[in-house]
Amino acid sequence: MVEMAGTKAFVKSLELEGVKYVFGLPGGVVIPLCDEILNGDFRFILARHEQGAAHMADGYARATGGVGVCLATSGPGATNVVTGIATAHSDSSAVVAFTGQVTRATIGTDAFQEVDIIGCSASVTKYNMQVRKASEIPKAVKTAFQIASTGRRGAVLVDLPKDVTTDVEDVSFPETVKLRGYHPNYQPDPREVEWAANLLAKAQRPVVVAGGGIINSGASRELVALCEYLMAPTATTLMGKGAFPADHPLSLGLCGMHGTQAANNLVPEADVLLIAGARLSDRTTGSVKSFAPNAKVIHLDIDRSEIDKNVETVTRVVGDASLGLRGLLYNVSKLRASGDAGSQWSKRVSEFRLQMNGTGNGHKEGYLRAPDVVKTLRNALPREAIVTTEVGQCQMWAALHYDAYDPRTFFTSGGLGTMGWGFPAAIGVKAARPDVPVVDIAGDGSFGMTENSMATSIEEDLPVVVVVLNNHMLGMVAQWQRLFFDHRYSAVKLKGNPDMVKLAEAYGAEGVRVDTLEGFQAAVRRAIKSDVSTVIDVPIDPEENVYPIVPPGAGLKDALLEA
């Protein structure tokens, strides 16, 4: 036991967790904390909006596989982080958010900047808590990190009343905390693995759908090994991009609303479908009835509550994906030789792989075609570059046409689809991976939501590249209005967009507008060498659609392919 102030206990606790960065923005009740942070062994990255701080922490967490930390003041600071932690939580990213709170005595009096952030954040966190005593700060921090980073990862919020941080008490630092109700289950039940392996071994038309759980578990190698052994074509969900190498002969690419023809046709044809580390949202399955009508579904996930939630399964394997896949391969290899189950299936798979990427509309004067831009970007970047995305058409073009070869090289807000996520997340990624180029594939609308993160990027020397696919539109909404609302545009035209080049320059960043693919490629090559962030403004036809698209409620096979 050592006597110290809550602020010191807080900073020391973060140091003990190995925290390198705290992303945040101060305010009245966290001034004492910020003061003590000056002595801390980590960097405080000043955001310009708490939502941005939370997205930075999220990007950092995804890039490292560790925990991202953000800090906000009470009231509006705390409510501003809610979108950020909801986004992280929905994509199983380990973010710990610390919020200031009014003093214990004033809680409940509607004091200045008092918000019940525990109530507000309850539905969008894995756990949250308000610390009631200075001496409990170390345990609270330890608990928060433990819960956020183990089992199925998620967001945790810790609320710190001001006087709890300023009180001086006897403090000790626990090495672990025991939680009676929390026992993440990593080791799958061997019987479940055996049953599942039996099904896989007998499959004539096996297909695998891999999700973000593969990336979180670090199970890509095991996934590739199993798929190769079974010769099973493999699709990924949006969150699973990078889990299976896009240039692998068995890769089908993205499955779901904007999935490839290969994935969306072959997944429903499977006789045995292995879902690995995916939660099967409506965006992945399309109409659930026609998702896997003839398949025995095997679901491997660390979160037991995901199994049978949206799609009914025949066999489950609950546990860590990498252990589960290893167990499956071991058992399958006892049951049958490696290779092809039915040569007809491989023929069908290779047919579909040939016509894989959806195209787009014909070329229009003055614009670049978005799929070409994304493919050119891929060619201009080194293999290990990391891409984040904003939300909308830009995101789906990125998902469809940007080939990710390795886990943790493609990050997107999949669950929530939070516009404005990609840019601050890219800055967080850059903090984690200063050694590789980091590029945000952005839409003009999304970029406008968190564009002020540029100030942080410049100030903190965290240069990233923002490729704005600039259609002067809330493009994805406009696409729906074209396809499903009789072409009536409502509230989608962004006529008042700033000049992206001047905007970048105003921050001291670089801005460049391109009008050819060659010019774009050259701009990317320059940008990734620059010491400051670069915004590349790319003119995109406001009428260009993302294809394929599975209309909402339709089955995966019923995609619209072309206008």
């Binding site: 309850a122 539905s123 109700g181 929390y182 037991r304 509550s305 199994i307 049978d308």
Partner: protein, 166 residues
């Protein structure tokens, strides 16, 4: 097929736990009929019993979602054949008419209830039993005149050696 299921669970006795649990039920659109809670032998643990209307997959989700919560220590759907369920009701009956009072006393007696309070115009009866028994009692006393009802919701415990904590 949608049916009533009893789910019992133990939770950490910490501020906000009941809020978190009911919030989860609301968020997941679970159809909760009753919820009862109270500390058990130690003060750190609260035992909660809920009655939920759901099909087999739905009740499974209720159990899994509860199990997933950090503050939930143990959770189980109770097998109706292997558990006893009880609910308590306090019922205020109008008994201005002496005949009605006699009838009321008889019914309370039939249902093994107690009379807790008697006033010139009304009396308060306590009845315990399975929810269906209480429904039946209420149906029987309705013609007499029911002024107010307060029901606790179901609490339950397993028979024999079975128990919630491992």
């Amino acid at each position: 097929m949608s049916e009533m299921h009893v789910v019992a669970f133990l939770v950490e006795n910490r501020p906000g736990v009941l809020f978190n649990i009911s919030n989860m039920f609301r968020r997941k659109n679970f159809n909760i009929h009753s919820i009862t809670a109270g500390t058990v032998l130690d003060d750190d643990t609260v035992r909660i019993t809920i009655v939920v209307q759901a099909d087999a997959r739905g009740v499974n989700q209720v159990v899994e979602q509860l199990d997933k919560m950090v503050d939930v220590i143990e959770v189980k759907r109770l097998d109706p054949l292997r558990a006893v369920n009880r609910e308590l009701a306090l019922v205020k009956l109008t008994t201005t008419d002496p005949m009605a009072r006699e009838e009321a006393l008889k019914l309370v007696n039939d249902y093994h209830g107690l009379i807790l309070n008697i006033e010139p115009d009304n009396l308060i009866a306590e009845v315990t039993g399975e929810s269906a028994d209480i429904d039946a009692f209420l149906a029987a006393v309705t013609p007499i005149g029911v002024e107010e009802v307060s029901r606790t919701g179901v609490t339950a415990i397993e028979k024999g050696r079975l128990k919630l904590e491992k």
